[in-house]
């Protein structure tokens, strides 16, 4: 069966520090991969999605970037974190664009 892993589960970082969140999927090949941010009292906002290695689409201009160095690995990065980057970050995968998205358990990021 397919599983998705995100780490770390929680992270506290100072303003201006770099960020790297990792997401890996097991049990499937060539998945579509997604990064979302969930802010309190709001829905999930799609940040990036990828349909293949090295193929990244950005949904909103921001301080973050994403990379897909391997088929089942999706990384969310920042060179310099802002206070506004705090939130709950979720990675998701789908088998293709006609299949449901399945979410990981997220990373709670707090910027101090």
């Amino acid at each position: 069966s397919q599983t998705i892993h995100q780490w770390p589960a929680t992270l506290v970082q100072p303003v201006g520090s770099p960020l790297s969140l990792e997401c890996t999927v097991e049990g499937t090949s060539n998945p579509n991969l997604y990064w979302y941010r969930q802010a309190a009292g709001r829905g999930l906002q799609l940040l990036f999605y990828s349909v293949g290695i090295g193929q990244i689409s950005s949904e909103v201009p921001q301080n973050l970037s994403a990379s897909r160095p391997q088929d089942r690995q999706f990384i969310l990065s920042s060179k310099k974190l802002l206070l506004s980057d705090s939130g709950f970050y979720l990675c998701a995968w789908s088998a293709d664009t006609n299949q449901p998205q399945h979410f990981g358990d997220g990373t709670r990021l707090s910027i101090l």
């Binding site: 999930l44 906002q45 999605y49 006609n98 358990d105 997220g106 709670r108």
Partner: protein
């Protein structure tokens, strides 16, 4: 035109009652409407989904009702239990492309014993 409006923001229902969560969308191109259930500290999990070719879909105690002309859909939970207490998100997308789910803002449901 990409919004999905969800209500209520929070809901408290007694055990055995039928909580109803409503969503409305604007983009008539949307043709896939999933509901996700999220427990604290966890990612959302797909609960049930509907396509606009049917007006209702049931899976266990969960039912989606869909009104295409009104561009509205709702989630009903029959015989609700305390274990159903969670945040529920509706979403919508257009299948067949690089799909991006547009999510509602969520409903925090509490089922009291």
């Amino acid at each position: 035109q990409q919004q999905v409006k969800q209500s209520p923001q929070s809901l408290i229902v007694q055990k055995g009652g039928i909580p109803i969560i409503n969503c409305a969308y604007e983009n008539t191109a949307f043709d896939y409407f999933p509901w996700y259930q999220q427990f604290p500290g966890k990612g959302p999990a797909l609960l049930i989904a509907i396509r606009p070719d049917v007006s209702e879909k049931k899976e266990g105690r969960f039912t989606i009702s869909f009104n295409k002309s009104a561009k509205q859909f709702s989630l009903h939970i029959m015989d609700s239990q305390p274990g159903d207490s969670a945040t529920y998100f509706c979403a919508a997308s257009k299948l067949g492309g690089n799909e991006k789910l547009t999510f509602g803002t969520g409903t925090r449901l509490t089922i009291i014993p």
